[in-house]
Symmetry: C2
DNA sequence: CTCCTAGCGTGATGTACATCACGCCAAACT
DNA sequence: AGTTTGGCGTGATGTACATCACGCTAGGAG
């Protein structure tokens, strides 16, 4: 009993503080407001290899990553997997299109490491945004940054060779190279594993 | 004198109504609010081939397209041009990264047709958003849609052949094919003009 | 200890593109 | 009318990649 209290108490406190810090980078919240926000979320832990979203299924949640590493990917008709993004701490992620429109997922979201996320349902999300516009502001701001980052990536894909894109990735996310294997990096860069291997050796 | 009054009167009224309609698809505005919003913008007309943003220059405005067609593009180190997007009526466009951070443009924005835009400076934009959060909401919402669209394009670039991407483009923006020549379409699709020509013939 | 699998490198071959070069045509310019 | 220019198609050739096939190594599971 004591152990349970201690551990879960410590744990949620840390998680909550992290979440709040992330929010407060963009908006400010009173204690009451933060408690209200929190009441819309559930915290969940997922193990490496677990799926948060499966391609083809309905998408009822969007996720805020507290720790760990997720992969948002699409498997095409030829069974080739393409990685849209790696979602790390402080990322807000889902299959946005499916979540927004209520259609089925065209992407999968799964764990490359054990991962902790705050989850919110479409309905709670709607309620939260209606009650607290600044939370929607926070969310949209994040998405705006994502848009800018995505433009850069698109440009890289259009104008750079595989070797150049790899170099750019090294610069921008040096930590990624430690955390994910080269097969995944290749799927992100849009080249085959073999080609990436030849580039690096 | 009569002619001037008539023409310019008609013109701005039409433009303004268009602008307001676009806003009201996402937010609602009173007449007073709309007038206040308008006071932050200037309306400008540009001729085909004119530049609104030149790669390398500071970016002090963001633009709302009322009519016409713009191209947002990047010219790489090998003098090859890549098109990030064609901005049509109802699009909000700029070099977002440069506009947001105050750095110089890494992209150019120019007219493929005679074009009418509402312009807003960084400073007026800041003031407007501060005074009317729902305008920021409108803007960020637009950007969120843009983000979703961009994800789809990234996926197409990663997983589809040039021929497939051309077909998808035909589906999604049939009107574009009438309005822009094949050299530009090729630059958008990320293939050479010759390859695109072979695909279509 | 042995087997099995995941991760990685590497050779041989195939292919979807880019590049270069050219010619045709229609519209615009003088 | 003659010349120029922009848009487009097309052949020949080059190349950056994908694909297939294989072998090596290290860590985990029986």
């Amino acid at each position: 009993m004591f152990g349970k209290l201690l551990i879960s108490g410590l744990f949620t406190t840390t998680m909550q503080e992290k979440l709040r810090e992330h929010f407060e980078k963009i908006i400010s919240l009173t204690d009451e407001e933060f408690a209200f926000v929190l009441s819309h979320f559930t915290f969940r832990k997922f193990k490496k290899h677990q799926y948060l979203i499966q391609q083809g299924d309905p998408v009822n949640h969007t996720f805020f990553v507290v720790s760990g590493l997720l992969r948002l990917s699409h498997t095409d008709a030829n069974d080739k997997e393409h990685i849209l993004l790696f979602a790390m701490e402080d990322w807000w992620v889902s299959d946005d299109h499916a979540f927004l429109t209520g259609t089925n997922a065209t992407m999968s979201l799964d764990c490359l490491e054990d991962t902790g996320v705050f989850c919110i349902t479409r309905e709670d999300n709607r309620k939260l945004f209606a009650a607290m516009p600044k939370m929607e502001h926070f969310f949209l701001k994040k998405s705006h940054f994502g848009y800018i980052a995505l433009q850069r990536r698109l440009l890289a894909l259009l104008s750079s060779s595989a070797a150049e894109r790899y170099q750019q990735l090294l610069m921008q996310y040096p930590s990624l190279i430690q955390r994910v294997n080269k097969t995944l990096l290749a799927a992100y860069l849009g080249v085959s594993r073999e080609t990436l291997s030849r580039l690096t050796s």
